[in-house]
Amino acid sequence: MKKLLVDQILNVNPSFANWIDPCIMSNSISIHRNLSGHNFVHRSSIDDNREVCSKIMGILQSNSFFDDYMFEYLSEINPYLINVLYEEKLFHFYSSDYVNNLKILKNSGTVVIINQTKDILIEINNIDHLTVTAFSNKNNLSELYHTAIDVVNNITTNYAYNDKNKFLTSNVDLHGIGMSYSGLLHLPGIAIHSAFQDVNSKLQSFNYNIAGFFGYKSDFINDFYTFNSIASYLYKNADSFLSIFEEATYIIMELEKYYRENIEDYVKKDLIYKAYGLSKYGYNTSFFDACSSLSCLKWGIDEDIIKNVSKENLAKSFVNCFPAHVQFISSCDLDEIDKYRASLIRKGMKK
């Protein structure tokens, strides 16, 4: 394994930059495991956590499967970069307490490991001893699960397991299959129609176990919504878990398609061209404005209205407009963030 370089953290995930479906920005499946015989991270001493960390790192470094992976100890990353990493995870992650936790985790031998294409993330000692997350821009969760479980299977060790509760996790909601799902969806149609109540009730009538929708225990930014699983112990096996969330995402995508079709053409074009103007000629852009305009621009690219901005540049602008990214890239003061954000977005407005 190699050391993770700053440039590699800042590179936009290729799958994120070439979205296939207009609604799905990113889907992720996380597999949570703990080592047998050790207390869980928040209940063990720093020495114990370091022992777990070196044990897992030893396994990873001795397996050629992980040769192309890059690692970094959290204690060796500067504070700015930790925030950058958090923002990268915001696109997939389920907890806003993450940054607070980092203060504790930093001394606990926490390691972040990513692969070359940034679609697999391995975390050691982050709430659970081992968390493997696979990302994709497709609504094919079975494929995603197989990618993640393949990584877990290559880390051969004894995991905390008993016949009654199956895989044992720190978070009591995740024991059993030890899995969680998180998706980032782009839903401007539903947002414009303020139709989240309808969507929520429709999904409830299908008996889906859904939380994290429309700000309910979740992070959300304008038209971008995180959509999370809770209580995976309710599911008998991985297949039933995956099929439920795959279908739930499919229903949301269909609803979004319906609502987008029901927007007047002039309203749509007005929003998209205004967003284009703001992005191309803005000199002082707040985070909220940036997300609104980039959302509309993405919609414009999906509808083939905006032709002179590439998907990759837009994805890069979307990632770079987050506060820690702006601060890290431009080394500016806090009160100058809006100015530099505008310049970063202006630079991205090209094919």
């Binding site: 047998s36 928040h42 905390a160 309710l234």
Partner: protein, 165 residues
């Protein structure tokens, strides 16, 4: 009840370690307290109802802990209060010690598993509760974004729901 840190002396202090995030409840003997927490002034918790707080470590007789000792994991010192606070188990053994608590957490989610579909089923009360929470969130967001027309609509819906329930 032995101190989980040294496993020799009896527990003397039971308190919330507020230096940790999220804070969790710690049990400790006198010696271990001096070694590990000598410089902090924790907020004390007594592990029987009603729970109350104080600004200095709470000194309690170890015999008082006897009746609730079964609710403390003998391996990692995790208590029932810890699990109620943050839904986090401390070790593998916790799953045996708190096997009843897992059922409590499941009940706390107000959900039952539909064995046919492998999904949980919400009752009408749950639906109303979730709708109310979602609407209150929406209301806050609408007010924060100065969308007063939308906020008024949401407020009306909330009032309607409250009247129904």
């Amino acid at each position: 009840m032995k101190c989980p840190k040294c496993n020799k002396n009896n527990i003397y202090y039971v308190f919330t370690d507020s230096t940790q995030s999220p804070p969790f409840i710690v049990t400790s003997c006198k010696e271990c307290f001096q070694i590990h927490f000598g410089n902090v002034i924790p907020i004390g918790f007594l592990r029987s109802e009603p729970v109350f707080e104080c600004s200095i470590p709470l000194k309690i007789d170890p015999t008082e802990l006897k009746d609730i000792s079964q609710l403390i994991c003998d391996k990692c010192g995790t208590s029932l209060v810890d699990i109620k606070l943050n839904s986090l188990m401390g070790c593998e053994r916790c799953y045996e010690v708190f096997s009843g608590v897992i059922a409590f957490v499941k009940n706390n989610l107000d959900a039952t598993l539909d064995s046919k579909n492998d999904v949980q089923e919400y009752t009408n009360d749950d639906n109303i509760k979730i709708k109310k929470e979602t609407l209150s969130n929406d209301l806050k967001i609408a007010i924060a974004n100065e969308r007063y027309e939308q906020a008024a609509k949401i407020r009306d819906e909330l009032q309607k729901l409250e009247a129904e329930s």
